[in-house]
Amino acid sequence: MPIELVVNVVIAGVLTGLVYGLMALGLSVIFGVVRVVNFAHGEMMTIAMYATVVLFAALQLDPFLAVVPVAGLFFVFGTLLQAAVINPFITRPEHSQFMLLVAIAIIMVNGLLMVFGPDARNVQVDYQLESYAIGPILLDKARLYASAAAVAASAALFAFFKFTRAGKAIRACADNYLGAKVVGLNVKRYYALTFGLGSACVAVAGCMMILLVDVSPVLGPAYTLLAFVIVIVGGLGSMGGALLGGVLIGVSEALAGLFITPSAKSMFSFALLILVLLLRPQGLLGRKP
């Protein structure tokens, strides 16, 4: 097998994996702090993809510029969703939370079907079909830009949690719920803020993802599942783990497609998931409970 073929496939896997990682990062952040598993995560990304399509169709707004309004809108939406709907469920049994978020996911899918119909949609930017050639290596422009944006967004989120007061407060809430309350932090407000940040994160991923795949309403559940696989492989609640998991899944899918058969790509992701669950149940970068 030609080496340039392997290199091309691995690079494509890494680039796609970084966008996957950003998507999963939102899920990981929300679970790491709020301890609620967002079963509507893929559906939220699908809505972000549709929002990007609409902005592109109406205003010819490039997805990279659409990030600002879409992420802003999702931050507000996520904050309100957490404050108004999810917060009352925080202390309820996990199956109640599960049913709530599954219900939200189903409403989202059907809402999209009602508004946009079943057809797949995309954006047609100038650079979408172009690629950089470095010798025999081809770098898909859209994929390269999208992964660079994913890295930038992830870095910004890391910086927020590391260096800002609000970020530190959120980490305190995540580390010790009671302690955070004792020192006077408004935990529920920070939970809402976290859900908003996670939502904004998935919105950015959606804006990037539309450059890589066409969107249809039924896409959501598949991405929710993919996000779960990634965060479990990387470590639930670990931000670095989400990115690492994304890259690992992206590369492993690509290599499985190359060396085994392309139709076995998804199967290989799940095989990797089982392997990680058997050998390191907390995930590659997760902490032991």
């Binding site: 073929l5 496939v9 494509a12 079943p118 797949a120 079909l129 690629s131 392309p262 139709s263």
Partner: protein, 416 residues
């Protein structure tokens, strides 16, 4: 107001009457009398109007929607359509078929999918309700000994045999002999049946100058085909032999451009996708020169003109050419049911099935011989055409008898 001789309305009526007469004469052997039926035939139409085959299902639905009006004029039969969306899901197809039967459908038609057709066929057989397949190619559907299942569409081996023969004709007409092909195909029921057919026929068709150097199967619902196209490109094959669906065909063509892969061309030995309107709309100029060897409609047939008129009336912004295969076979499936109902004068399932078995419709829209079912419930002798995308329109380039343009192969992007 009565139509004058020679006016379009008069000509249309003559054509419709001629078509009806042809059907009646050939089956009953006495002069056709176009008369109204006492009852009305409830036709359950099962199509994937949503899901990843949604666009094709919607295209087929246009053929169903125009059928009651055209058939009423042709045969005097009243038809009530009962539409159901299979959501491109085999289980949904099965449950929707059950529900249509419970709600009183006398006959089922659909579902543009071999997996769905196999599931509906089981339901139809268990419940004893005739099922006329519009489009589905897996051969096993009519190999089960079913008594209520009928198919007016080529089986995968027929599609492959006709498609490969047309590839030979294409190379001959283009005066070129590619030596290698990379074969990519979807891994659903249809794709696997086609792959089986190709591996069976490739050895036998010695006039074909090429050999398949690599076979790559993929998920028709795939969101990304980077790896698949990378592998295909690495094979250095002269051309791409493709069995696809619509969305994956679009993804694949885009990926070919991104990866700067320009073989001699893309040729489908018989699959949907590249002649669909959405392929043109989404890809624009990149849709040009793709070739599909598929069962196609006869643009010169009288019934085609009637159907086209009804189609344009219902879809003024649309063109039949982008929907011809889907509309034609769906219309013909309902025509088969209506023709049987007219002769049987009954909605009794067994009587209808017996009447369908006696079908002999000679005035038809699609290429090939008359619609006559063999003992397995399969129509034989359905023709294929080599359809190439030229000037953003699917254009028949072979066989020469029905062609409206000459084939372009290799495509202009090719550099030896």
């Amino acid at each position: 107001m009565k139509a004058q001789r020679g006016t379009p309305s008069h000509v249309r009526r003559r054509v419709l009457k001629a078509a009806a007469a042809s059907a009646a004469l050939s089956t009953l052997g006495f002069p056709a009398i176009v008369r109204a039926q006492a009852g009305r035939l409830k036709v359950g139409v099962l199509l994937p109007r949503s899901g990843f085959q949604g666009l094709i299902g919607q295209s087929c639905q246009k053929g169903a929607d125009l059928a009651p009006g055209v058939i009423k004029e042709m045969l005097g039969v009243d038809i009530e359509l009962m539409n159901a969306d299979t959501e491109t899901n085999v289980d949904t197809a099965r449950t929707r078929a059950e529900r249509l039967i419970q709600e009183g459908a006398h006959v089922l038609v659909g579902p543009f999918d071999s997996g769905g057709a196999a599931a509906i066929a089981q339901v139809a057989e268990q419940r004893g309700v005739p099922f006329v397949i519009n489009i589905a190619a897996a051969p096993q559907i009519t190999e089960q000994g079913y008594k209520f299942v009928f198919r007016n569409f080529q089986t995968a081996p027929d599609i492959v045999r006709n498609g490969l023969a047309l590839i030979g004709d294409l190379f001959q007409a283009s005066n070129i002999a590619p030596r290698t092909a990379v074969f990519m195909h979807v891994n659903d029921t249809f794709g696997m049946a086609m792959a089986k057919g190709i591996s069976a026929f490739m050895g036998r068709l010695t006039q074909l100058p090429f050999k398949i150097v690599d076979t790559i199967q993929y998920d028709p619902a795939a969101r990304d085909l980077t790896v698949e196209v990378s592998k295909a490109k690495a094979s250095n094959a002269d051309f791409l032999l493709l069995v696809c669906r619509l969305n994956d065909a679009i993804l694949l063509r885009r990926e070919m451009v991104k990866q700067r892969w320009n073989p001699m061309g893309i040729v489908s030995p018989g699959s949907p996708g590249m002649y669909e309107e959405q392929y043109f709309k989404t890809l624009g100029k990149l849709s040009e020169y793709s070739i599909s060897n598929v069962p196609w409609y006869n643009p010169r047939a009288e019934l085609t003109k009637v159907v086209e008129k009804a189609f344009l009336k219902q879809n003024p912004k649309d063109k039949l050419v982008f929907n011809g295969l889907n509309v034609g076979f769906t219309f013909e499936a309902i025509l088969v049911a209506a023709d049987a109902f007219r002769r049987a004068r009954s909605t009794d399932a067994k009587t209808l099935a017996d009447a369908i078995r006696q079908t002999n419709i000679t005035s038809k829209m699609m290429l090939g011989g008359p619609i006559k079912f063999n003992e397995k419930g399969q129509v034989e002798g359905i023709g294929s055409a080599c359809v190439q995308n030229l000037n953003l329109t699917p254009t028949v380039v072979l066989p020469a008898a029905v062609a409206t343009a000459t084939p372009v192969f290799p495509w202009p992007y090719y550099k030896a």
